[in-house]
Amino acid sequence: MQTEICRLLGIRYPVFQGGMAWIADGRLAAAVSEGGGLGIIAAGNAPASYVEEQIHFARKRTEKPFGLNVMLRSPFADEVADLAAREGVRVVTTGAGNPAAFMDRWRRAGCAVIPVVASVAMAKLMERAGAAAVIAEGCESGGHVGETTTMALVPQVCDAVRLPVIAAGGIADGRGFAAALMLGAQGIQMGTRFLCAGECTIHPVYREKILRATDRSTIVTGRRNGHPVRSLRTAFSRRYEEAEYRGASETELDVLGTGALRLAVQEGDLESGCFLSGQIAGLVKRVQPAAEIVEEVTREAEQCLKGTSRWVR
């Protein structure tokens, strides 16, 4: 399986690993890239010094290209953006905002900028700003979400821009991968599936929650303050939802949410941690090496695509 994006980025398979904050470190990213996909280190809210360590760690583990996800709302976004340029990271993906202000800096440094978008207008804006591709992420995904599903978003983005489109949200196996290609995408990005990669260092409680998840295990909170987030249903999400419904102040909601991601990832704290997950978690049933995941979903997608001809005379 080779698409245009593979040639553009120098990767074997068009499979990206989502830049999950507090989770996607140099170890996971290197393992995915070694497996032929595109591993992505998440900067999250971390300072540049931490991100630099992760980049150097990944470089020790692989000579293959990997990416860096810059969270634009981070207080360290500016210094992380500089770091990406200085280190000449092959791919920069962005989330939570508009990266236009950093685009020139990254492009001059030879980084391929691939923003995550949740709408057609945002995809068009990113094309105009000089993006190399876009990741169209539907609301099935974990973490910050838009309103449109992957099924509806991807073909509309593909029609609106001339860039390669990577589909994300609700994809965890070769069937989703093949479907994404049918919608016009040139590749996929998966987050939740990689939560159960052997190289992913989340707390065992988090991993167990994903492995036991079903189709209805996630919920979106935060719509009221304009930052909707999909996570697993836990005591924390129930408390947050209750607070939203009873009209808690924004300050109270902020206090509830502050540090919740770290508590989930590092402490496995079901009472106060926010366990981000996509709707597809119910499909994730075992822990596997990242390279095996990349290989498996690609082989499955190839089988699906070859098999579709049986429906057509």
Binding site: G97, N98, A118, S119, A121, M122, K124, L125, E147, G226
Partner: protein, 85 residues
């Protein structure tokens, strides 16, 4: 004029009455989220022919109109300079 167009676009997108869109209306009051803002800007670019930068500082409809008017003025000056040369 521009306010009418913005009111029409916002009304179309959110279902609020066009009369609810005033110069001092904030996007938050109008339930315009960050993705709606990008949609609105792209539509306004098509309508006005000027490129509008996305900024968190643009909080009200009035702010947006001021930015577009300034851009239009700048674009006009550019054309005049070109013609003079």
């Amino acid at each position: 004029m521009l306010l009418d167009k913005i009111a029409e676009l916002i009304s179309e997108r959110t279902g609020c009455g066009a009369g609810a869109v005033r110069m001092d209306s904030t996007f938050k009051d109008l339930n315009i989220d960050s993705l709606d803002r990008v949609d609105l800007l792209m539509d306004l670019e098509d309508y006005t022919g000027v490129q509008i930068e996305l900024s968190e500082k643009v909080e009200t409809v009035g702010d947006l109109i001021r930015i577009i008017e300034e851009k239009k003025k700048d674009a006009g000056k550019g054309e005049e300079t070109e013609n003079a040369n």
